[in-house]
């Protein structure tokens, strides 16, 4: 009887500490997702948003809600990089350069 209670206590304790550990990465996942969305918006502001960036962010959010924070962060980082690339791609063409195969 006493042993059973002790064991139960130990398992509960173990579990809560895991949850506490996990809670820390939930915050990290939320931050990563927020950063990704900001990068996406920045790309959109110069008409450089890519097709799948928004979808990847949604996927990251769903993954986060399921508690898989590592994967959520990975996805969010991928979306953030896409936002960055799309922005840079657009900015590098701010002044239109006509292709050399057209002659004037």
């Amino acid at each position: 009887m006493k042993l059973a209670i002790k064991l139960l206590l130990i398992v509960v304790l173990g579990f809560t500490s895991t949850v506490i550990l996990a809670a820390a990465s939930d915050k990290a996942a939320q931050d990563a997702i927020a950063a990704a969305d900001q990068a996406r918006k920045k790309a959109a502001s110069v008409k450089g948003e890519w097709r799948d960036t928004g979808k990847i962010i949604k996927q990251a959010e769903q993954t986060r809600k399921k508690g898989d924070f590592d994967k959520a962060i990975k996805l969010a980082n991928k979306a953030e990089r896409q936002g960055k690339y799309g922005y840079e791609q657009a900015m590098s063409q701010q002044t239109l350069k006509m292709p050399s195969y057209l002659k004037y």
């Binding site: 890519w50 097709r51 657009a90 350069k97 057209l102 002659k103 004037y104």
Partner: protein, 287 residues
Amino acid sequence: MKKILVKTKIQKLTACLLLAGMAFTAVSSVFASPEQDRKSIIEYFETRFVGIPLSEYANGVYAYDTVGRESWEAIEEFPPYEIAIEKGQTMWETPFANGKTYKDCFPDGPAFADQYPRWDKKQAKVVTLPLAINQCREANGEKPLKYKKGSINDILAYIAYESRGKKTHVVIPEGEPGALAAYEDGKKFFFTRRGQLNFSCATCHIQNAGNRIRSDNLSPALGHTTHFPVYRSKWGAVGTLHRRFTGCNKQVRAKPFKAQGEEYRNLEYFLTYLSNGLELNGPGSRK
């Protein structure tokens, strides 16, 4: 001795001319006028596809895709867009709830597709035919139609059919800086690389026109707008030009823009301008 002297003089002269030419090119590619753009693109295609008369570009990819042309011509014998034309005619002739008709908005109709897209001074923006149709509907208390799929294609098909034989003549009115800016904006859109796959419209429809991407022969930008709305076998339906823009943006993994939003309207303004002088032959059918 004398001969050699003459030669060097000529060489000098050509060198001078060349330099001047280069300087001119450098400047003009930045400040090229719409007419210079159009001429330059026509020249490009004339050199790329020797012997194809300009008027043929109204047939899109079939100007040079001789294999595809046969099945296209067979399809055109029993056009898959015929029902759309009929439905469109009914729409044109059926009065709105307030008793007015499309004709009240468009007295030159139904054969007036050649008047669009155009710069609207009052609205200070490019107005396309689908936009004008919805503005007419809303002014008469009707719901606007969707811009990519559905019954907008019926009325567009009817108007296109009635307008056959007229010529594309997009005007960029002088003394309207907004119009030229809209054209320039569309031109920039056309030449800007987008999406994860990093293509511009020009990469496929100018640089690689006539090449095959997988088994698709790429159509020339010249003539892109003459035959819309278009029945596409892949869609199994008639669709609008902006639906096509959406598809072409998506396939390079760029986020598409809103149909009839400013980006696509300006793009249409530029793209249609290139086809100035080409015959309108919509609705069309394509793979």
